[in-house]
């Protein structure tokens, strides 16, 4: 019976509304997807007459979050290599904040480095983040994956809030990494 799908869709719809989710995606994050989602969010924010500065912050964090997935998402070990760049992406909006949520698989080999960086970022204040950004600009090089090692630092700087994240184990050597960036709307009003 197809009712199982109908129940699923109805349940999904209600949960989206309750959690104020504007956009949800699961799959490969290609450049086309990045362009489509940023364009869509830009349109919606313009309709809501959000201040320019806020629009730019949200735009920037969406780009960096999606490019993090497309450049860094791994697959479960033993799965074909061409399945990289897959992730889950959400944009939610409350009366006071935007939430940009990105989830993707990371291998346990990378867990230590990621946790260190995230903890380091969350300990720094505005000035400390500026310095870290400057250091990474000076010393960093564009990696094989095409990143500058600046994404998370920049997300933290632009959002002005600590990064909230979690690693959920999904296999012997893989974790599902979830990063939620909160951008406050009310500051500018």
């Amino acid at each position: 019976m197809n009712e199982i799908f109908h129940d699923y869709v109805f349940d999904f719809y209600r949960k989206m509304k309750i959690n104020q989710i504007n956009l949800i995606y699961e799959g490969e994050v290609t450049h086309q997807i990045t362009k489509a989602f940023t364009a869509l969010t830009e349109e919606n924010m313009a309709k809501d007459a959000e201040p320019n500065a806020l629009q730019m912050k949200v735009f920037h964090i969406i780009v960096e979050s999606l490019q993090n997935i497309s450049k860094h998402a791994q697959n479960l070990k033993g799965v074909k290599d061409d399945l990289k760049g897959i992730g889950t992406f959400l944009v939610a909006k409350s009366l006071t904040d935007y939430f940009i949520i990105a989830g993707n698989i990371v291998h346990s080999d990378d867990l230590g480095i990621m946790k260190d960086l995230l903890q380091k970022i969350n300990k720094l204040d505005k000035k400390g983040l500026k310095l870290l950004h400057k250091e990474q600009m000076k010393q960093g090089k564009i990696s094989e994956r095409g990143g500058a090692g600046l994404g998370l630092i920049d997300i933290a700087r632009k959002s002005g809030n600590p990064l909230s994240y979690e690693f959920k184990q999904i296999g012997d050597d893989a974790y599902f990494f979830i990063l939620t960036t909160q951008i406050t709307r009310t500051k500018n009003k």
Binding site: K35, H60, V63, Q67, M137, I142, G146, G147, A148
Partner: protein, 124 residues
Amino acid sequence: MNSIKIESQEDTPKIVFDPENNIFEISGRSLPEDASLFYEPIIEWLKEYAENPNENTDLHIKMNYFNTASSKLLLDILMIMEDMVEAGNNCIIKWFYDEDDEDMEEAGEEYSELIDVPFELVTY
């Protein structure tokens, strides 16, 4: 030397490096799929130009958005300008930003701290 003229796209900036008319400009938005692929030819061109540049080189940068990968390559471009200055050439970087765009103003200030080239911040 040939000039570079690239029209802006939704994810890449407009680039004009035109020594004959002495126009050097990067403007628009930059979030290419592969930032190195986009900027590499521009950086190579600028390195060649730097060997025998015009008497004055004013680079106008008027971005409304760039991602972090682009920000790093933009620094690479500015560092070639720094080499030109060190070699005794006259260069100025003019960083244009929307007066309401604090993040872009701050980005300009940070570049000016990272490189040793006369740097002007200009609102529009």
